[in-house]
């Protein structure tokens, strides 16, 4: 059995309203272990907007500022400025948004904040659809997925946006992927991000959603692990938009990951072949940029 080396202290109370097996809940727990008490979390509309708690309760031990859907990047910028003007250079502002609030409605504010190199950590917990409103597609939804707005034969025929690449093109100081199935790696990256003050740090966290992906809740972490092991969600870091470090090399076929999920069960063998080709192509593109390897 593997011994995991992660901090004991939790900044999240038990008893939140997330679904059984919610990857986003696991993600927040690990993230806050790394971020610590001197953190203010900015949360736009998303599942965590509900999981944060109903007035007059809060599910976190750190302050929360909920904000409108499109605004995480801008609100965090303003909050950072306020703290700086009051001489507080210790507190970290962490924007915590879903894929909708990051890839779609929130992309403008995020891009603007990164272009200005605003000093905060931005974490996107990606469950690959607008889950809070009932599983509608986002631009983070992978090719091949059925959602409520890509139903039946209208399953999603466009590729998932690559947010890390988009932000790397902004020359963001630090952008990395992370996964709830690799807690040490994830906590290491959040801790690294926390310490890299002075600019924007982006973490793209793979947060499985048993409810939206039609997967038994007890497979939540296993699914997240398979995504990495099949190279569908590679673990890597990019510094200053140009230095790529790969953290893990996977070697399993995409079908291992996809065939156990209800959201992909309509796909044919030909579809799986095409998807494998796309995964391989993206993997080769990534490998060409990698200069360091830090993993298995």
């Amino acid at each position: 059995m593997t011994q995991l080396n992660i901090p004991d202290e939790d900044y999240m109370y038990p008893g939140h309203v997330g679904c059984p097996g919610c990857g986003a809940a696991i993600a927040m727990k690990f993230a806050l272990k790394a971020m610590g008490a001197r953190t203010i979390v900015v949360i736009p509309a998303c599942c965590w907007g509900v999981m944060a708690g109903q007035y007059p309760q809060s599910s976190l031990k750190v302050p929360i500022l909920q904000t409108a859907f499109a605004t995480a990047g801008a609100t965090a910028s303003g909050l950072r400025a306020a703290l700086d003007m009051q001489g507080d250079t210790e507190t970290t502002v962490m924007a915590w948004a879903g894929d909708g609030g990051t890839f779609d409605i929130g992309i403008q504010a995020l891009s603007g904040a990164v272009e200005r190199n605003e000093d905060f950590v931005y974490a996107c917990y990606d469950n690959e659809a607008y889950m809070n409103t009932g599983v509608q597609r986002s631009s983070a939804t992978p090719f091949g997925t059925r959602t409520t707005t890509t139903p039946g034969e209208g399953w999603k025929k466009s590729r998932k946006k690559n947010m890390v690449e988009i932000l790397a093109a902004h020359r963001i100081p630090y952008a990395a992927t992370a996964s709830i199935a690799f807690p040490e790696d994830m906590i290491r990256k959040f801790d690294k991000a926390r310490q890299m003050k002075g600019g924007t740090r982006f973490l793209h966290v793979f947060a499985s959603c048993p409810t939206g992906w039609r997967v038994p809740s007890e497979l939540s972490v296993k699914i997240a692990r398979l995504a990495v092991q099949t190279n569908i969600f590679p673990l890597y870091e990019v510094e200053n938009g140009v230095n790529y470090t790969l953290n893990y090399r996977g070697d399993r076929p995409a079908a291992d990951y996809m065939k156990v999920q209800g959201r992909f069960k309509h796909l044919s063998d030909a579809d799986f072949l095409k998807i494998q080709q796309m995964v391989d192509e993206d993997w080769q593109l990534l490998l060409r940029k990698v200069t360091h390897f830090s993993g298995n």
Partner: protein
């Protein structure tokens, strides 16, 4: 110090003296001179503040919401399309009870593209829970901006200081700009009633279900209801230091007036001249300048307009499918008053079209010569 300032700079001077700490804005004509001046102050160190150059007005309001929640004095400015784009967050700022101050330059909404004077933009936001104050000249813009910070912080509601595009924003007038020390006596350092606090971690903006939401909304209205008394106190303090006072409304020769014209913004300035001239001709006319629009000064409207024979409202705005907006609100205020005058609504000066003295005099004649309002709004000076 008496100096000649463009209306935009009357705003920026007040913001500088108010010791605002975080500003964020997106440029839009004719607000640009305000934000450019503030950017210069930050770059030169004249203001000890951060100016965040965001990528849209929606983000500008989000940034000041974030900053205000973090406990500092904040400011933004916009106009027209930018204000419209902020709409969602205007509701957010007031319900979050943040004392944000914003200069809003009244400009027409597109399409067609029109950068000139029109009030529909700010009036279309009248339900968002922002205090709204309409200014007549550069001095008033300066004074109102300073007062806005005191007022906002007194009731924890955001305040919109409204000025006419070009007629006010880009017109140079003499403005008395006081020294920092005296302004500090009027406006002390910001002491937030609520802000994010690591020593007492709380969550702002949580879900608020049917059992609690209605009381939160009622609290906003209760704060609005405190505004008239608080504002009067603030203006008294202001007058003691700076010798100027405006009130939520300004009646001019209304006591014995048979017809009272209601005007706002720079049109009020023109109207003073028209009233004088009409009075010289023996007309029993008066004018009511409306300055505070939210909260709506219902009691004052009933008291001052109630006894008149007719009321003629000049709207440089319109609510399609209904009428001019000031006229609408005045009718609403008067309807429950026993015995009230008919309200004649006139639409003039949209999209920067000038409202010269002749137009106001024409409006007076039209009201005088009509037995009763034939339409809710009469559009004045339309080209065929």
């Amino acid at each position: 110090m008496r100096t000649v300032l463009e209306g935009s700079h009357a705003v920026s001077e007040a913001v500088r003296l108010a010791r605002v700490q975080v500003m964020s804005a997106y440029p839009i004509t004719p607000q640009t001179h305000i934000v450019e001046a503030l950017s210069e102050y930050c770059a030169a160190g004249t203001m000890d503040a951060r100016f965040i150059c965001v990528e849209s007005e929606h983000s500008a309001m989000a940034a000041v919401i974030g900053a205000s929640s973090g406990g500092v004095r904040t400011f933004t400015a916009t106009s027209s399309q930018g204000l419209a784009l902020m709409h969602e967050l205007l509701h957010w700022a007031s319900a979050a009870r943040l004392p944000i101050v914003m200069a809003e330059v009244n400009r027409a909404l597109a399409p067609g593209w029109n950068i000139w004077m029109d009030q529909t933009d700010s009036l279309a936001q009248r339900d968002t829970g922002w205090i709204q104050l309409y200014c007549e000249d550069g001095q008033e813009v300066f004074d109102t901006t300073l007062q806005a910070f005191r007022l906002a912080e007194s009731v924890n509601l955001p305040v919109m200081v409204v000025l006419d595009a070009f007629f006010l924003s880009h017109t140079f007038e003499p403005v008395d700009v006081p020294d920092q020390e005296t302004v500090d006596r009027f406006l002390p350092a910001f002491s937030p009633r609520i802000s994010l606090d690591l020593s007492n971690p709380c969550a702002f903006g949580q879900m608020a279900g049917p059992a609690v939401y209605m009381e939160m909304r009622h609290d906003i209205q209760k704060a609005m209801q405190q505004v008239p008394a608080r504002f009067e106190h603030i203006e008294t303090e202001y007058a003691a230091l700076f010798n100027r006072r405006y009130g939520p409304v300004e009646p001019v020769r209304c006591d014995d007036a048979e017809i009272i014209m209601v005007v706002t913004g720079t049109a009020a300035s023109t109207c003073r001249q028209v009233i004088s001239e009409l009075r010289r001709q023996g007309e029993k006319v008066g004018m009511l300048k409306l300055r505070m629009f939210r909260p709506f000064p219902t009691d004052l409207i009933r008291r001052i307009l109630g006894p008149a024979r007719k009321v003629a409202v000049v709207d440089r705005n319109f609510s399609f499918g209904a009428s001019g907006i000031f006229a609408q609100e005045i009718r609403a205020a008067l309807c429950n008053r026993d015995g009230h005058p008919p309200v004649f609504g006139y639409i003039a000066g949209l999209g920067g079209r000038d409202v010269p003295p002749e137009t106001l005099a024409q409006i007076y004649r039209m009201a005088k010569d009509s037995d009763g309002p034939e339409q809710e709004s009469v559009w004045v000076g339309l080209r065929d």
